[in-house]
């Protein structure tokens, strides 16, 4: 269909007149940020609180724990509260390696992607976005995307140090991580803001349309509160 390509681009150029794309070239190389809502302009600790408030506003549940050691108990407590069997599918993510799962010998933990037969997944996240209480996750050998969508319950282990103000801060972090192939994103980047929902039957909002019915965040208060632009917090 190269004919269509030439035809379409030709028509566009015809309507443009003088062609000077320097502004577009500059935009792609400098990637200017737009307006970032002032609600995110908060001291680090308050930013984590904003993340929690916003996540709960979109019907995620949040359990704040002191350290990675508390995560197995928190997960077991969540499973019990939902009357779920004591079994989870865990992402093969090194971020989760410091969690002492064997402290809960009755909790059955398997690791890998899912074919849809697992009721509960536990994954890490790349970042938490305080602005809207969104979780930023991306695909990779350690973080299969199927875990984010097929199970009925998605449990995400997030650290306070991963909470960022805005999506833009998340993008900058991801770009830094992708230094081997600049401007190349992982196959899938998910911003997850609350559980799956629909309003397609008489505009009545119901949870659990096709994705997880519940989104549960176990937030580890790991003391270090970072942002990708820490200099902005000088003096607060």
């Amino acid at each position: 269909m190269s004919d269509a390509r030439a035809e379409i681009l030709g028509k566009i150029r015809q309507s443009r007149g003088v062609i000077d794309d320097s502004a577009a070239e500059a935009r792609l190389s400098t990637r200017p940020r737009g307006i970032i809502p002032a609600r995110t302009d908060k001291a680090p600790g308050v930013l984590v609180d904003l993340f929690v408030t916003q996540a709960e506003f979109v019907d995620a549940s949040v359990d704040r724990v002191a350290s990675a050691d508390d995560v197995p108990d928190a997960v077991a407590a969540y499973l019990a509260s939902q009357n779920l069997p004591s079994e989870v599918r865990l992402a093969p993510d090194t971020q989760l390696d410091d969690i002492p799962w064997d402290q809960r010998p009755t909790l059955l933990v398997s690791r890998g992607k899912t074919d849809g037969s697992h009721e509960v997944s536990v994954t890490a996240a790349f970042a938490g976005i305080a602005e809207t209480g969104s979780l930023m996750l991306h695909s990779g050998p350690e973080s299969p995307s199927t875990l984010n969508f097929l199970p009925d319950h998605h449990v995400v282990v997030l650290r306070a140090s991963q909470v960022r103000k805005s999506y833009e801060d998340g993008w900058d972090d991801l770009r830094r991580q992708m230094t081997s192939r600049p401007n190349t994103l992982p196959r899938t980047v998910n911003f997850i803001t609350g559980p799956s929902r629909t309003g397609d039957i008489e505009q009545k909002i119901l949870m659990g349309a096709h994705g997880p019915r519940r989104l549960h965040i176990v937030l580890i208060d790991d003391g270090f509160i970072g942002t990708s632009t820490p200099e902005k917090f000088d003096g607060i």
Partner: protein, 486 residues
């Protein structure tokens, strides 16, 4: 789908007497409208973000070919494929050809208005590939064999009893006496039926809200998660999008996303905003092994540089139709094609021609509510007015309307005669109104008076009042204040 836009008046008349439809439409004002206002109110920067969204879109359209080529280069660099289609037929053929490379039996689909525009489902079905809509609303209307009536809530015209009926007919493997009274029961049934379809599909087709030039990424925005299951489970992911969906950078896309969900459903962010770049990587453990983007023109390149270029800013949020008093009473099907409401009243004549869809820009009260909520500030009423003008110039307006406008123009060009004529007209109407001051029947406006009385004019004509006020020029501030009260 075949357009019935030329039959808008008949479609609208039928819609007004359709009780189920009227019941469904009654929920628009309390749902979307209130939610959008609340979301906008929660964000002090919302109006500034709308300006910024308009500017990003204008900048992109000014360099559209540059950004499309940049996008294409990045997709290829990441191991994906880009297919260009000038027409709907070309796009359908490209998609069918891709499906055939894996001998596809079933194809799952995320919600895509472009797929509706090119009538993809019928074409695939005719050629032996079964398309399965997975967005709940789209699934419902696919079972009911009808087009969407709203661009983000395709089944907004359907009431739950009708959904139950469609499920009883389609899901024959289930107990015919099961209860389907509650929305929750309907949802659970759809979830269970579609889950297996997701797992079995050979190809997943989604639309795209944005295509990012910087990274060669397609973006989808959903609440159900169906779009994600559609694009990560099958072997092949096809993203189908029109040219103007391209955006420069991740930052620009993020800025546009800040106004999209708020304008659409009133959410701050949709549940799932997903960025897809290329096929699965060598070390990935899931995801599609092929990634294709089909870029559709279908008349859009011709809108660039025309008086309708502003329409290409549209990000398909649906706010214009949610707030439209005409859409609110006739619903989406009356518009006769894929795109309803004010955005459809501009886009449909552009894509199908003013001969087919000339009624649509006339189906407006010109109240301006659509423009006042548009996240990218498209001057929708003005664009509709352009079509009215074009329609008149091409002599597509009925003879009686042309004659009436001609008669009005004759008097309007002769001010003295106009004044006398309007005085006489006012007097006649007052006589016709009688003691009640209501007119029940007017020869030139029977359509209007069939449903209500017209109030007879009281007092003098506007011009006479204006002249009288000009004669008494305000001398003091007291007069000036009196004047503003009049």
């Amino acid at each position: 789908m075949e357009s019935t836009s030329h039959r808008f008046p008949e479609n609208a008349r039928a819609a007004l007497t359709n009780e189920a439809l009227q019941s469904a439409l009654g929920k628009l004002e309390t749902g979307f409208v209130v939610n959008r206002a609340t979301a906008a109110g929660r964000l002090p920067e919302f109006e500034a973000l709308r300006d910024q969204a308009r500017d990003i879109k204008n900048h992109t359209l000014a360099h559209l070919d540059y950004y499309l080529e940049a996008f294409e280069a990045k997709v290829i660099e990441n191991g994906g494929h880009v297919h260009w289609a000038s027409t709907a037929a070309e796009a359908r053929q490209i998609i069918l050809d891709i499906c055939r490379t894996v001998d596809a039996k079933t194809v799952t689909k995320g919600k895509s208005m472009i797929a509706e525009e090119i009538a993809l489902n019928d074409y695939l079905a005719e050629n032996g590939v079964e398309p399965i809509e997975t967005d709940l609303g789209e699934y419902i209307i696919q079972l009911r064999d009808e087009p969407p009536s709203h661009i983000i809530a395709p089944a907004v015209h359907v009431i739950k009893e009708q959904v139950a009926e469609a499920f009883h007919v389609a899901h024959t493997h289930l107990d015919p006496n099961r209860s389907l009274e509650e929305p929750r029961e309907l949802l659970e049934e759809a979830r269970a039926v579609l889950r297996q379809k997701f797992l079995d599909a050979d190809v997943g087709i989604t639309g795209a809200n944005f295509l990012i030039a910087e990274t060669g990424t397609s973006v989808i925005v959903t609440n159900e998660g169906n779009g994600d299951l559609t694009q990560i489970l099958p072997k092949i992911h096809i993203a189908l999008a029109s040219l103007e969906k391209v955006t420069p950078t991740l930052e620009d896309t993020t800025s546009l996303l800040r106004v999209l969900a708020r304008s659409a459903t009133g959410q701050e962010f949709s549940s799932y905003t997903t960025f897809s770049t290329g096929p699965r990587r060598d070390d990935d453990v899931d995801g599609p092994s092929e990634y294709h983007v089909v870029l559709l023109d279908n008349g859009r390149s011709g809108m660039l540089g025309s008086e309708f270029q502003d329409m290409l800013r549209c990000i398909r949020c649906g706010a214009c139709m949610n707030h439209c008093p005409v859409y609110g009473v006739v619903g989406g099907h009356a518009y006769g094609w894929v795109y309803p409401g004010p955005m459809g009243a501009v886009l449909t004549p552009t894509l199908l021609g003013v001969e087919e869809a000339g009624h649509l820009p006339n189906a407006s009260t010109f109240c301006g509510r659509c423009e006042s909520v548009c996240p990218v500030r498209i001057p929708l009423p003005n664009l509709m007015r352009q079509y009215r003008k074009r329609e008149f110039e091409r002599k597509l307006v009925p003879a009686s309307t042309r004659a009436g406008l001609g008669l009005w123009a004759f008097f309007a060009r002769r001010p003295a005669l106009y004044r006398v004529a309007t005085e006489i007209m006012g007097l006649m109407l007052r006589v016709m109104g009688g003691k009640r001051g209501r007119i029940g029947w007017l020869p030139a406006a029977r359509g209007w008076t069939a449903h209500r009385d017209m109030p007879a004019p009281t007092g003098r004509t506007f011009q006479a009042q204006w002249a009288a006020r000009r004669a008494v020029r305000p001398q003091s501030s007291k007069d000036a204040s009196r004047r503003t009260k009049l």
